[in-house]
């Protein structure tokens, strides 16, 4: 009986290709959309966390102020003395890189490019996992005297020099000219969409003197020694800074110490929310697909009811008719689900390549979409049939 019924169901699908195709289409689109969105979202999340992991798990970032947005507590910027204190008083510290950021336009011959100017020290390259592709980093004398030298990122090289080797050339930033002494190895786009190679790094003192005009330090990048406790370093750091910044017993910190894990969590939680949003939008399309199926099923219900009447009249049992329709519904919607998965996989791999995020196969969402589509097929394909198969044969035959 099962084999016969399976044959009947497959025949019926083959005979009604257009109806079958339309039935499948809604599911294909819905399933493909959901899986693609979620897969890409997962990829983006992974890429963010990978990138942060590549910064090293032993990195601490200290920023003035607490919280963003409403309720934010402003905090005074750091000073060079803070850097020294951290370097000397916290155990387990490998390097401390003071960082100041300023936006400015760099000019070389007829080309100009507005970019982020970072003032720091050689430690900055090491803490940030930067490699020098050509030329060199800063010498101690250059750092101490605040000489007008810079190391540029690959994007800046591209905008100002094209394919040319920039090392040894002079670029102009605001009113001073500055010798390019090094070129950073390209890192590529960050997963948040910003271009990491769009930087010009100068000695801290150079930026303070010539661009910001004060002694302020925007943030500290601290690399903790391999094997040393990050949490211990954080605690010490907090105590030290509270003392140096004269924060009272009952007052809140006016600075933040973040480690890479926290930064990763902040960033990945953003992409995760984005993934959920995209997934929700796609889920709506799956639902619309389901409604489409219901529509087609309802339109064809007159024809199908008469068909059921004919089958019952020539001696089919109710359960045989039901089984046939169940098989039809399950085959169609699973087929739709499978095609959707194939399309989603292809699209995800392609789009992941385009967006520069890793492709991660997520079995959960694939299974979920597949079973959801099967359920939709069964509900919308099978239940109208169940009603018809319960009729007296003559009522089913007479159905208008």
């Amino acid at each position: 009986m099962l084999w016969n019924t399976l044959q009947l169901a497959l025949r019926s699908i083959r005979r009604n290709l257009m109806r079958s195709f339309l039935t499948i289409l809604g599911i294909v689109i819905g399933v493909a959309a959901v899986i693609t969105m979620v897969t890409l979202g997962n990829g983006a999340t992974k890429s963010v966390s990978d990138q942060i992991a590549s910064m090293g798990s032993n990195l601490l970032m200290v920023l003035p102020g607490q919280r963003f947005g409403p309720g934010a507590v402003p905090g005074a910027p750091f000073k060079s003395a803070d850097v020294e204190a951290v370097r000397n008083q916290i155990t387990g510290v490998r390097l401390v890189a003071p960082v100041v950021n300023k936006s400015a336009t760099a000019v070389y011959q007829a080309n100009n490019w507005t970019t982020a100017i970072t003032g720091s020290s050689n430690d900055y390259f090491e803490a940030g996992n930067w490699e020098i592709a050509a030329g060199r980093g800063f010498s101690e004398a250059e750092e101490r005297s605040g000489k007008a030298v810079c190391v540029i990122g690959d994007t800046v090289r591209d905008k100002l020099f094209g394919r040319q080797n920039p090392v040894g050339s002079q670029i102009r930033i605001k009113q001073f000219s500055c010798e390019v002494i090094g070129l950073l190895k390209a890192k590529g786009q960050s997963s948040m969409g910003s271009d990491q190679d769009d930087v010009v790094v100068m000695p801290l003192r150079t930026v303070q003197r010539r661009l910001s005009g004060n002694q302020d330090i925007g943030r500290l990048s601290i690399s903790v020694k391999e094997g040393a406790s990050i949490d211990a370093a954080k605690d010490q750091l907090t105590l030290l800074l509270r003392e140096r910044r004269k924060i009272g017993e009952n007052e809140d910190d006016d600075f933040r110490v973040m480690d890479t894990r926290q930064i990763a969590e902040t960033l990945t939680s953003t992409t995760r929310i984005l993934t959920m949003l995209l997934g929700a939008v796609a889920a709506v399309s799956l639902l619309v697909g389901g409604i489409g199926i219901m529509n087609i099923m309802l339109v064809s219900v007159t024809e199908r009811t008469r068909e059921i009447g004919i089958r019952l009249a020539i001696g089919a049992l109710e359960r045989e008719v039901l089984l046939q329709f169940l098989i039809e519904a399950v085959v169609l919607s699973s087929l739709g689900g499978l095609i959707g998965i194939v399309i989603a996989t292809t699209a995800s791999i392609f789009l992941a390549g385009l967006m520069n995020v890793p492709y991660l196969f997520d079995p959960g969402i694939n299974l979920l979409s597949f079973f959801f589509s099967a359920a939709i097929g069964v509900i919308f394909g099978f239940f109208p049939a169940r009603r018809a198969a319960g009729l007296n044969p003559i009522d089913a035959l007479r159905h208008e």
């Binding site: 009986m1 016969n4 044959q7 009947l8 025949r11 005979r15 009604n16 024809e303 008469r306 068909e307 009447g309 004919i310 089958r311 019952l312 009249a313 020539i314 001696g315 089919a316 049992l317 109710e318 359960r319 045989e320 007296n392 044969p393 003559i394 009522d395 035959l397």
Partner: protein, 234 residues
């Protein structure tokens, strides 16, 4: 006249709807039909002919009364048992053909055999033979849309007789056909009655078609008004 009573109806009534809207389409039908008979049921529109046929064909159930088919009380059968009775003993031909659309003639004729669980090879052979019997060899792979009304009705007849049913029930089988085609269909039906001994119950409005039958029953207003054998005086 045959010896065995194939069908025995006593006091069959059928009421459609309920309460205020209730309508009694059959008001007590008593009828005995013997194996091998060819019965034409006539009567004015609305007299309950189709209602009676549907009950006889186990497509519908009577409101009251008793229906014995080959000694079995049909009203005591379950839904499934009635389906099996249709599958194994009855064949239907309808006014509107009722073929599966987009389905070839061969597959339509095979359908009852599939439900009987016949192996594919035998099924094909039997379906081909049945189509040949109704004069449709060469048309096996045409769908209803590609066949004339007369040809569609032949496919329906082939589907009805392919299982060698004991009874063939036909409700206005020529109702949608011209008179020439109708004659051909009637020749086929009476041929199956004569040669295969299939008992035929047929509703018709046309005296020319009723003339093929051995026995003519007239319904009026939900009752049997007259019941005579062809050849006897009216």
């Amino acid at each position: 006249m045959s010896d065995a009573a194939l069908i025995r109806l006593s006091g069959i009534t059928k009421t459609y709807g309920s309460g205020q809207a209730a309508f009694q389409a059959l008001k007590g039908i008593d009828l005995v039909i013997d194996t091998g008979d060819f019965v034409a049921i006539m009567g004015p529109s609305g007299s309950g002919k189709s209602t009676a046929m549907n009950i006889l064909g186990c497509l519908d159930v009577a409101t009251s009364g008793s229906y014995e088919f080959e000694g079995v009380k049909v009203e005591q059968l379950s839904r499934n048992a009635r389906a099996l009775l249709r599958r194994n003993y009855l064949g239907f031909v309808f006014q509107g053909f009722n073929l599966l659309s987009r389905t070839t003639a061969l597959e339509n004729v095979e359908l009852p055999l599939i439900y009987r669980g016949e192996p594919a090879a035998e099924r094909h052979a039997a379906a081909r033979a049945a189509l040949k019997q109704v004069g449709l060899d060469g048309w096996e792979h045409h769908t209803p849309a590609e066949l004339s009304g007369g040809q569609q009705q032949r496919v329906a007849i082939a589907r009805a007789i392919v299982t060698r049913p004991h009874v063939l029930l036909a409700d206005e089988p020529t109702g949608n056909l011209d008179s020439h085609t109708s004659q051909e269909i009637m020749n086929l039906i009476s041929g199956f009655n004569r040669e295969l001994g299939i008992t035929v119950l047929m509703v018709t409005h046309e005296p020319e078609m009723a003339a093929y039958a051995k026995r003519v029953i007239r319904f009026v207003d939900g009752r049997v008004e007259s019941d005579r054998r062809n050849g006897e005086d009216a």
